[in-house]
């Protein structure tokens, strides 16, 4: 992988002075990368078209569930997700200590519920897959499951408890990162990148934006679902990222009597609790291009399925429903790493795992920026698609 188009990481990202980095995109990925880079003393500028965290970040439920979300045939993704999950406690602790803000990170665990015999069959199948990777989720009978979560539907057929899974509030995390970035002297510029500035050898030396030119010896591109149509990225390295629409619903409940303690999931919905008693219901998955309309059918399905799983949601206040765009890739793996263009790093294509993979992506970009070559990053190398484009 990557042998044809780009050479080794060392060749592609030269060790450089710790200064002058531009991060394009202020979703959670861009902000986390900026935070990491600024922490190493780099002079970082973030360029964002709209409000920081206003895209997929704002819509995401913030489930940190590498095990519960596991699917067949994706061992590389599991590996990345587990790595990032392990980074989360330190990532948020550092940020919370620096800013005094709560990110909503809670190690709640997750309970995946089968509401009938069919769902139980599917749930057991996934549990066996989890066991095959040496993971240790536990099967609970209906009684045992309802002892943990009294509110779930009494007619369940069984459940799987994943103790490792956790949840974070992506909006609170965004706010904390913005505060932290300000402390570290990072500027967030509202503007649109229109092109890369490159020296005669092709190396990136900055970006042209609607707010003028910014010099930099490293550009980190984190444009999320818009990566595939980001015209400022040269054709040969513009990744095959597509938007995958997701709708979520927000409900408000009593902070002293939360409807659930853990993430609850069924085949068709998940319910992610917030520390203040709210829950997020997610999420639809729709191949609808850049459409972000909230639909009656989408909201209906989320509410119906949430009600089947946890009837108490009927008593909660409906706060709203929003839709966002996940940056999907052909193989569901993210794009994190150097490109064939010296001085340009991609950090996008996180699909369903952007919130979970933020700390790992930031760590990776931090290492790449100083010439590191993390071997665990190979599966997400952008070179895997550059190569295809070149053929």
């Amino acid at each position: 992988m990557g042998s044809g188009s780009g050479g080794t990481y060392m060749n592609r990202v030269k060790a450089r002075e710790a200064s002058g980095v531009i991060v394009v995109g202020a979703g959670l990925i861009g902000l986390a990368c900026a935070w990491e880079l600024a922490g190493t003393g780099a002079k970082v500028t973030v360029v964002e078209r709209e409000e920081p965290g206003c895209g997929a970040t704002r819509v995401a439920a913030g489930m940190l569930a590498p095990i519960g979300e596991l699917d067949f045939g994706e061992p590389e993704l599991l590996e990345l997700n587990l790595r990032s999950r392990r980074l989360y406690p330190d990532f948020v602790a550092t940020l919370e200590a620096a800013t005094g803000l709560d990110t909503g990170y809670r190690h709640t665990g997750a309970l995946h519920v089968a509401l009938d015999r069919d769902e139980a069959g599917e749930l057991r199948r996934i549990m066996e897959l989890q066991h095959s990777y040496g993971l240790d989720p536990k099967w609970l009978g209906p009684m045992a499951a309802r002892e943990l979560e009294a509110g779930i539907s009494p007619s369940l057929a069984g459940a799987v408890l994943v103790e490792e899974d956790a949840v974070v509030d992506p909006r609170a995390l965004t706010a904390a990162l913005r505060a932290g970035l300000e402390d570290r002297g990072v500027r967030i510029v509202t503007g649109e990148v229109t092109g890369l500035v490159r020296d005669p050898a092709g190396k990136v030396t900055g970006t042209e934006t609607t707010r003028g030119r910014f010099d930099a010896d490293l550009v980190v591109a984190a444009p999320g679902a818009f990566a595939g149509i980001a015209n400022w990225l040269p054709d040969e390295i513009r990744p095959p990222v597509r938007p995958v629409k997701g709708q979520t619903v927000e409900l408000r409940g009593d902070v002293d009597e939360p409807v659930c303690e853990r993430i609850l999931g069924s085949e068709r919905v998940y319910i992610a609790p917030r520390p203040d008693g709210r829950v997020i219901l997610g999420a639809t998955s729709e191949e609808m291009g850049f459409d972000t309309r909230v639909t009656g059918g989408g909201v209906h399905e989320l509410l119906r399925e949430a009600y089947r799983l946890l009837p108490d949601v009927a008593e909660m206040e409906f706060v709203g429903a929003i839709a966002g765009l996940r940056p999907g890739t052909p193989d569901n793996l993210p794009l994190i790493g150097p490109t064939a263009i010296e001085g340009l790093i991609l950090a996008t294509g996180h699909y369903r795992n952007g919130i979970l993979l933020a700390p790992l992506t930031a760590k990776a970009v931090g290492e790449l920026a100083v010439g590191g070559e993390p071997e665990w990053l190979l599966a997400s190398s952008p070179a895997r698609f550059e190569h295809q484009e070149a053929r």
Binding site: F72, G73, E74, R242, E287, M288, G289, P330
Partner: protein, 332 residues
């Protein structure tokens, strides 16, 4: 230069050889070694060894004979007609449930399918880099469906939107009765089918395994009937093979077994019962290894088709030795 190719006036390049004419008529449907292809020029069969050295002249008639339509010439892959077109693969794929676009592309390619059904409600056909790109890359024929519609009115409207969006008269008509079983709503289905047929659509209705309803849909002008083997996504197999047999026996239009397929033997059974094709989705897309299951399904459909054509022996209560005990010595 103008020649007559399989009875049709056809324009070819001056000096084109027979090999090039074959490419023209069959394109990528013929195997690399051109096995199963025969060519007659002015009524005379041209030996294979002379194909690349022989060029027709203005006004010649060329027949590229039937074997070519058999595509690869593999067992169980004899062509069949649907909606006025000829198809080689008897496997129709659904596009739902794949975990990634890569997984989808790979499995569909291995399945050998030529037709894919897509839900307009869940897919914007103009969206770049999505399922549509995979379909384009594999050059599959798009069969829009009305999944998610619960009334005839809804289904008709969705079919018309699909006609605009995909530029096709074809529609796989689904009118669902309830969201737990996803079983068809018979009266609404028939109503929608009549209206769409009247509007010029090529209508392929997803129907119950009910011979009477199938006959009514055929009478309404549907281009095929698509009885379910079991509920959508259930993998329950063919729950009422007797009804499927009755539908097959009576139908003058193709019968496509739709829904319920869980594994390869289900697809084989459908073909053995005399169905013309099988439509499946989750059996492949949600298998642990979709590539392997897609390959299995390709073989399963071909095997079932061949077995149907081969004519099975009748079932008997008692044994019947395959080697006669009497008769000529040494001939056993």
């Amino acid at each position: 230069m103008r020649i007559e190719l399989n009875g049709e006036p056809t324009e070819i390049a001056d000096g084109a050889t027979i090999v090039e004419v074959i490419e023209l008529v069959a394109g990528d449907r013929i195997p690399e070694d051109r096995r199963g292809v025969a060519v007659a020029l002015r009524g005379e069969v041209v030996p294979r060894s002379e194909w690349s050295a022989t060029s027709p002249v203005e006004g010649d008639s060329i027949e590229v004979v039937a074997a070519i339509q058999g595509g690869s010439g593999e067992v169980g892959l004899d062509p069949w007609d649907l909606g006025g077109r000829s198809w080689n693969s008897r496997l129709i794929a659904g596009s739902g449930g794949f975990r990634s676009l890569e997984a989808m592309e790979s499995a569909l390619a291995l399945s050998g399918t030529e037709i894919i059904t897509v839900a307009l409600r869940r897919l914007d056909p103009s969206a770049q880099g999505s399922v549509m790109d995979v379909i384009g890359k594999l050059n599959l024929f798009i069969l829009p469906n009305t999944a998610g519609c619960y009334t005839a009115r809804d289904a008709v409207r969705t079919a018309k939107l699909a006609r605009e969006a995909f530029g096709t008269e074809w529609v796989k008509l689904e009118v669902i009765g309830d969201d737990r079983t996803l079983l068809p709503d018979a009266p609404e289905l028939l109503r929608a089918a009549e209206e769409l047929v009247g509007d010029g659509f090529i209508v392929l209705p997803y129907t119950n395994d009910d011979p009477v309803l199938a006959a009514r849909l055929e009478a309404a002008g549907c281009a095929a009937v698509m009885p379910l083997g079991g509920p959508i996504g259930s993998g329950a197999g063919i729950r009422n093979p007797y009804n499927i047999s009755i539908i097959v026996e009576n139908a003058k239009v193709p019968v496509i077994l739709d829904a319920g397929i869980g594994t390869a033997s289900d697809a084989t059974l459908a073909m053995e019962l005399g169905c013309d094709a099988v439509l499946l989705a989750s059996a492949v897309s949600r298998a642990e290894d979709p590539d392997l299951m897609a390959t299995a399904m390709k073989h399963a459909v071909a095997a079932g088709r061949a077995a149907r054509q081969a004519g099975r022996i009748p079932k008997r209560l008692y044994a019947e030795a395959s080697t006669p005990e009497e008769g000529l010595p040494g001939m056993g």
